[in-house]
Symmetry: C2
Subunit: 760 residues, 2 copies
C-alpha cells in the first residue's frame, strides 16, 4: 500500500500527481538507446586484459604479438596514459587523485586486484580483440595480498602502496600503511557520558563489499579526431564529470571533449567513475577509428567498484529513562585498491538522527586488494547505520522501552545538527517516527519463527552544480534541457515542475538530457541531488521565461509590465479591455517581437536538507535451513515533497530491496589467492521479485523550506536503514544478536545453534 | 592577389587575422560526418518514386505490389501527409504555405514536374527499395505543360493550379493563372524622367534556372519513437527551420523533434527546404525503424530547387552628363511548380546602387512545370542586376563616359535608400568604386579577342533570429554553441570573435554547432546573416561571461565590482595589492564560488546593412568556336570587417565562380515532353578549377556601425554582379550586345556571325 501524507496541504496542478512516464514508451519498445546501442561506421571493438593476480609487480608487458595479429588496430598500456603527481595534503572530502585514477584505469607498476585492467586492444572484431588480449605477455612477480579492511589496517599486513603513509594520526607514521587516513568527529565529553550511563551496550559488526548490480554493464563508444576533439557516448550518471575526468587524465582541453550520456540501465552510484573511457579514447586516437567497449558481467564484478566492506565497533550508554548519554563508533571502510572510501559520510551517519550530547566517531580509509570502491546509494551510511541502529534497538530492549519511543526521546529536532556538524533546518524526523507508531504494521501480530525489525536512517542530501536551458518554441511547446542523466525519473520531475510553474499541460513540456556541448556544467545525478538542485535550475529557467512572456504581453498590450501577471498558463492584466494571452499565443509572436524566448540557470544549490527513512520489516526464518524470508516491509520516509509520487515510491521500494540483498545474501567470494569466485548474477545473489513481498510506502511530506515545492530528495534514505532493519528482524526472529552481514542461511543457522556471533 | 583595405585602422588580436580552420582536420581526414555518414541499428533504406511527366493528373496510386515485396517495411503516399488549407492573402514576403509544401513533398492531385515525388518506400536494402518503387502503379492523365516564365504568364498557357488567381492586379482576375502575384515599387515620376532624358536604352534579357550544385546531395536519417518523438539527422542550412517545417507539416509538437545538422557539403541556399525529411519521418513511424534517405545526383537535379530562370526588360534614361533620370524594370521569375520566387529581392536589386529619382520595377511570380525554385546565394538579385548593369554599361558607352565615373556620379550615398525603401546607414559604395578605378586591373592592356567587363552588385544583408549558449569550463576553455550549421566558416568567425572579446588564445575557444534540443531558435545560415547576427549573439554571450568573471574577481578580492575591469584575458583592478586573475584561474574557482559560468543570447538582430561588390573580368572569346574563357578576375567588395579574411576571400571567389557558371555554361535542357535531359554534372556543366584563373580579391573595410566589429556579411554580394560582369566582358570581346544567359559557345558564335540577339 502506498500512502502520501502531505503535511502542508497545498494544491498543485501537477506536483504530487501520478503522471505518465516520459521515458516509458522508448523503454518498453526497446527503442531507448543504451550504452552499446550506438554504432559508428568503421568502429572497432575494444577489449581489456585484466590481471589474474590479486597483487603483483608488473615486470614487463610485451604487446608485440598482439599488435602483429591481423585485425588489431591499436594496443594501449599504461605508457599511453599520462602519469600524474601524487596528491599532496590537505585532502578534501572528495578525492580526484589522477595519480590513482591513471593507475586504476590501467595498472602501472603493480596490479592491485584480480581483474585490474592491464592493457587494452582495439580490433576489427570481438573475436580478434579477444584473441589479441591473450597474446599480450605480462610478466608478474606475485606479492602477498590482503582483502579484509581490519586485517589490512594492521601493521604487519601486506602494503599496497609504498608511498602511502597514514594521514590524520600523530605522531606521523614512519612506515607506509594501507590506512590512507583516519578521520574523526567528536562532541561533548565521551568519558563523562559513559560514566553517567546506567547501561552500556557495545557491539561489533562486519559487512562485505556489495555491488550496485545495475542491469546494464558499462558500455561506451569513443571517437577521436585528428584535430584533438573527442566524441564520447557512454552510460554514466554524469557525462559532465566524465568529460572533466577524461580531460584532466589525458591532458585534453575540456571543451574539445563532447560526451553524450546514453539512456542508463541503472547506476546507483556505480556509474560515476572512469573505467574504459580513457582507454577507448586512446585506442581511437591510435587507430584513427571509433572504438566501442562493452563490459561483460564478469568485467563489471571484477573491474568496477562495489560499496565498501566494513568492520565497525559501536559503544553506547543510556540512562534508565532512555536518554542516550554517550555514543562511540569506529569503522574500517575498505577502499579497494586505492584510497577513497566514504569515511566522511560514515562518520556523519552513525548518530545523526539523535541529539546525543557526548559522541565520537572514527573512520579508517583502508586499501585492500579489491576493486576500488565506488559510490553505492548513500555511500558510507548503511553500514554505519547498521551498527548504531542495532545497538539502539538493544538498548531499548534492555531498558524495556519501545524502540520508537526511545528514538522519539532522543530524536534530533529542527535546528539541530548532524554528528559532523551539518545544521538542520526544518526536518520531518518526529513526524516520521510518529507515523511509524501509528502504522498498523507496527502493531500487527507475528507468526511463529517471525521477527519484526526496525531501523531509522538519516541522509543529508546533496545540492551542487546544475545547469538548465529552457527554450520556448514557436508552437508554444517548451524544451527543458538539463545536463543530468535520468537514472530515476528526473525527466518526469523536471517536466512536472516546469509544467506546474507555467500552468500548462504536461505534454507541453519536453524534458531533454542534453550532451555536454551546449549546456553548462551539471554535476552527477547522484546524492539524491537532481530533483532538488537541477529542479531549482528548471524553476529558475521557467521563471525567467515567464518574466519574458509578461514583458512580451506588456509590449503587445502597450501597458507597463508591472500590470501583467502570469496565471494558469496565461498572461493576464487587471486592466480592462485586454483578453489574456496564452503561452501558445505569446510563443507565436515572440520571435517577431524581440527574439526567441529562453530561460537559463547555472547554480550551485545549497540547502537540500536532511531526510529520514524509517523501516519496519517482518522476517520469517526457517529454523531448519537458516533461510530468512521477508514477509512484510513498510517504509515511512520524509520526502519533503513528492514531485512524482510513483517514482518516489519506486525509489523507496528499490532502496529497501537493495538493503534486503545487503542484509541477507550479497557478498563477494574470494579464493586464497584473491581471485573473485562469483563474478556473475548466478552466484552473486541479489533479491529478485519472487524473493520479496510488496514493499509498502508512506511518504511523509514535511516541505524543505529551501525549495519552492519543498523537495528533499528521496533516492538514498531508503537504503540507509534497510540492512539494519532486516538484520534486526532476523535477530528478533531467532532471539540472537547478529553482527556480520550478509545473514546467509549457514550463518543464521550457526547463530541459532551456537549463540550470538558478534562480528565474524 | 588578395588585399585588405582596412579603412578604420583598428588593432585586433584575432579579428582580421588568417587563422587555422577549426573544421580543417576533420574535413581533410574524411572524419567529418555528412548527411549519410550516420548509421543506426536496423535502419532501412528509403527511396522516392518520382513523376515521369511534367504535368499530369494522378488518377490512382496502387502500392499493394510494393507493399507485398519481401523486405519492404513501409510505403507512403500523399495520404500519409496531412493536408493543409490554402494560404489566404495578404501574403508576407516569405511564404510558408503548407498547402504547397505538402504537395511538393509528395504530389497529391497532380504531378507538376518531371521528378516530382509521388511515393516513397522504406526497405531493408537499397536494392529492394529500388525494386519496390518500380512496383508502385500510378495511373496518370497527361496534361499540357509549360516551362518558360514569360510563356507561362500568358493567358493561354496551360495552368498548373486551378485555385490560383493572380494577386496584386486590378481588376481582380476572373480566371486562374500561373502568375501568382505581381509586385512593384516606384518612386518619382517615371514618365517625366524619361521625358527629361537625353538618351534612353532599352533591353531584354533571359536566363535559365541554375542549380546550386552543392557537392553533397540531400541525405538524412529519421527515427521516430512510439511516444511521438522524432530524431532527425540531416544536411541542412537550418536545422531549427527544418524542425519547425516538419512539426507544422506533420502536426507534431515542435519540442518533440530533435534535429541535428550534419556537416554540410555545400548549400548556397539550396538546403533551406524540406524534401525527404517528412517522408523519412512518416516511413519511420510506419515501419518502427530508422530510415535513411540519400538523393542521387539525378534526384537532386530533378527534385530540388534551382534558382529562378527569368525574362526581364530594362529601360533607362540619362542626361548627357551621365545623370540617370529614369529607370524601369520588369522581371518574370519562374517559381517552379509552386508560387514563391524571390520577387521582392529582384525588385530591390535592379537599381539600388544608384540614387535615381524616377524609377519603377515590377516583378511577376510565375509557376511553371519545373521543380520549385529554392534560394541560391542572393536570390533574385543576379538576374535583375544582369539587365540593369548591362544597360548602364551601354549608357556609359553611348555617352562616352567611363563606366566607373558614371556609377560614381549616380552612386547612392550614406543615408540613402534602396529601390524598395530600405534605408542605408554608412555604406562603402564610393570606396569600392574608387578602389576599382585605382586598381591596376582596370587599366591593364587587353589582348586580341579579349574584352573587359564590369558590373556592380548590391545586397541588403539579413539579420534575424540567433541564439548562443557559451559555457566557461573548469579548465578555462570556452565552448561556444550556436544553432547555425557552418556552411562557409562560421565556426571560425565565432571563435575569432569570442577569443577577441575574451582576449585569449584562439584554441581556448571551441566553436560547436549544437542540435535543436538545448538551444534557442536559430534561423538559417543564409542571407549572409550568420557572422553578423549569430556573431552578435556570441559577442553578447561572451560579454555576459566577462561580466560574471569580473563579479567573481570582485568577490574573490572583496572589492566593489566597479573596480574590476577585463583586460587581455584577465580581471584587473586599479587598486593596489591585487594580482590580476586570468580566465583559467577564475574558471577554476567559479564553480566553488557560485556556480558554472555561462553566457546566453537570443536575439532578433537588425541593422546588418548593405554591401556592394564590384567586379572586373577579362574574357577571351575564341572566334572560331564561340568559347569564352575567363582570363582575369578581380572582386572589390565592402565586407564591413573581414573577421576571417581567408573565408571572406573564399566567399568572394566562390561567388564569382558560380556567377561565371551562370554566365557562360549552366542551363537545364528539357525535351518537348518536359523531361530534364541533363540531370548530372557531366551534362550540367559547372566551372571547374581548370576553367578558371585565380580570382583576385580586394576587401574594402568600411565598418558597419551596427556591429561591434563592423561586420556586413560577405557570402551573397559576390554572386550578384558576376553574371553581368562576365556577360559584359563577352560583349566587349565580340563587340555585340548579348542578353540571353548562358553565353554558351553556339550562342556567342551566332552573335558574332549574325549580330546582336536581344533576348532569345
Amino acid at each position: 500500500m502506498n500512502e502520501i501524507k502531505d503535511l502542508s496541504k497545498t494544491n498543485y496542478k501537477w506536483v504530487g500527481k501520478r503522471t505518465r512516464r516520459p521515458d516509458g514508451p522508448d523503454k518498453v519498445t526497446g527503442r531507448a538507446q543504451y550504452g552499446d546501442d550506438i554504432v559508428m561506421p568503421g568502429m572497432l571493438c575494444g577489449k581489456i586484459l585484466r590481471s589474474p593476480h590479486a597483487h603483483a609487480k608488473i615486470l614487463s608487458i610485451d604487446t608485440s604479438k598482439a599488435e602483429a595479429l591481423k585485425g588489431v588496430k591499436a594496443v594501449v598500456t599504461h605508457k599511453d596514459i599520462p602519469d600524474h603527481a601524487l596528491l599532496e595534503p590537505p585532502y578534501g572530502p572528495v578525492i580526484a587523485d589522477f595519480h590513482d585514477i591513471a593507475r586504476n584505469v590501467l595498472a602501472r607498476e603493480k596490479v592491485l586486484y584480480d581483474g585490474h585492467a592491464v592493457a587494452a586492444v582495439a580490433a576489427t572484431s570481438e573475436r580478434i580483440a579477444s584473441a589479441a588480449i591473450k597474446l599480450i605477455e605480462v610478466e608478474y612477480e606475485i606479492l602477498p595480498h590482503v582483502l579484509d579492511p581490519f586485517e589490512a589496517a594492521q601493521p604487519d599486513a601486506p602494503v599496497l602502496h609504498d608511498h602511502q603513509f597514514t594521514n590524520g594520526v600523530t605522531p606521523a607514521p614512519e612506515k607506509p600503511s594501507n590506512v590512507f587516513r583516519v578521520v574523526s568527529t567528536e562532541r561533548g565529553d565521551l568519558e563523562a557520558g559513559f560514566a553517567d550511563a546506567d547501561i552500556i551496550v557495545e557491539r561489533e559488526f562486519n559487512s562485505k563489499p556489495v555491488h550496485q548490480g545495475y542491469i546494464e554493464p558499462q558500455a561506451l563508444i569513443a571517437s577521436a579526431s585528428e584535430d584533438g576533439a573527442v566524441e564520447l557516448w557512454t552510460t554514466t550518471q554524469g557525462h559532465f564529470v566524465i568529460r572533466g575526468l577524461c580531460a584532466r587524465l589525458l591532458n585534453i582541453d575540456m571543451s574539445k571533449i563532447r560526451v553524450t550520456a546514453s539512456e542508463i540501465g541503472g547506476g546507483f552510484g556505480g556509474k560515476n567513475n572512469l573505467y574504459a573511457e580513457p582507454l577507448a579514447i586512446r585506442l581511437s586516437q591510435k587507430s584513427g577509428k571509433p572504438v566501442r567497449m562493452v563490459m561483460s558481467r564478469s568485467d563489471v564484478f571484477r573491474g568496477t567498484g562495489p560499496a565498501s566492506g566494513t568492520y565497525s565497533r559501536i559503544r553506547m550508554g543510556a540512562k534508565k529513562d532512555g536518554t542516550i548519554v554517550a555514543a562511540e563508533a569506529e569503522i574500517y571502510n575498505q577502499a579497494g585498491a586505492f584510497k577513497g572510501s566514504p569515511v566522511g559520510r560514515s562518520l556523519d551517519s552513525f548518530f545523526s538522527s539523535y541529539a546525543i550530547v557526548n559522541a565520537k566517531a572514527t573512520a579508517y580509509d583502508v586499501c585492500v586488494n579489491r576493486p576500488k570502491v565506488a559510490a553505492y546509494r548513500a555511500p558510507g551510511a548503511p553500514m554505519a547505520t547498521l551498527g548504531a541502529e542495532l545497538t539502539i534497538n538493544e538498548i531499548a530492549e534492555k531498558l524495556n522501552i519501545d524502540p520508537i519511543d526511545l528514538r522519539l526521546k532522543n530524536a534530533v529536532q529542527d535546528g539541530g545538527e548532524s554528528l559532523c556538524g551539518v545544521k538542520y533546518g526544518r526536518i520531518g524526523l518526529t513526524e516520521v517516527l510518529e507515523a511509524v507508531k501509528n502504522h498498523p504494521h507496527y502493531s500487527a501480530p507475528l507468526k511463529a519463527n517471525q521477527g519484526r525489525g526496525f531501523a531509522l536512517g538519516y541522509w543529508m542530501h546533496g545540492g551542487g552544480l546544475s545547469s538548465v536551458n529552457a527554450n520556448l518554441l514557436d508552437d508554444g511547446t517548451v524544451a527543458v534541457a538539463t545536463g543530468n542523466p535520468d537514472i530515476g525519473g528526473s525527466r518526469s520531475s523536471m517536466r512536472v515542475m516546469a509544467a506546474e510553474e507555467l500552468g500548462v499541460e504536461l505534454e507541453t513540456v519536453k524534458p531533454v538530457v542534453a550532451d555536454t556541448a551546449s549546456m553548462g556544467y551539471s554535476h552527477l545525478t547522484a546524492g539524491s541531488r537532481t530533483t532538488f538542485a537541477t529542479g531549482l535550475a528548471v524553476i529558475n529557467s521557467i521563471r525567467e521565461i515567464i518574466e519574458k512572456l509578461c514583458a512580451l504581453a506588456a509590449k503587445k498590450w502597450d501597458i507597463p509590465v508591472d500590470d501583467v501577471t502570469w496565471e494558469a498558463g496565461q498572461a493576464v492584466t487587471h486592466r480592462d479591455g485586454f483578453d489574456s494571452l496564452t503561452l501558445k499565443q505569446l510563443a507565436g509572436m515572440a520571435t517577431k517581437m524581440g527574439g526567441p524566448i529562453a530561460g537559463h540557470s547555472e547554480i550551485n544549490a545549497g540547502g537540500a536538507g536532511a531526510a529520514f527513512s524509517a523501516q519496519l520489516v517482518d522476517v520469517e526464518v526457517d529454523p531448519e535451513t537458516g533461510l530468512s524470508s521477508v514477509k512484510r516491509y513498510t517504509i515511512i520516509q520524509d520526502a519533503g515533497r513528492a514531485i512524482s509520487p510513483d517514482y518516489v515510491e519506486g525509489q523507496m521500494q528499490g532502496g529497501a530491496v537493495q538493503g534486503i540483498g545487503w542484509a541477507l545474501n550479497e557478498e563477494y567470494f574470494y579464493d586464497d589467492e584473491g581471485h573473485l569466485l562469483n563474478s556473475g548474477f548466478l552466484d552473486y545473489r541479489m533479491p529478485v521479485a519472487s524473493d520479496l513481498p510488496m514493499i509498502d510506502t508512506v511518504i511523509i511530506e514535511v516541505p524543505n523550506p529551501n525549495h519552492p515545492y519543498g523537495v528533499r530528495g528521496v533516492g538514498e534514505p531508503p537504503l540507509v536503514p534497510a540492512p539494519a532493519a532486516v538484520a534486526n528482524a532476523v535477530e528478533n526472529a531467532i532471539g540472537r544478536k547478529l553482527g556480520s552481514l550478509p545473514l546467509s542461511p549457514p550463518k543464521v543457522l550457526a547463530a541459532i545453534e551456537t549463540g550470538t556471533p558478534r562480528g565474524d
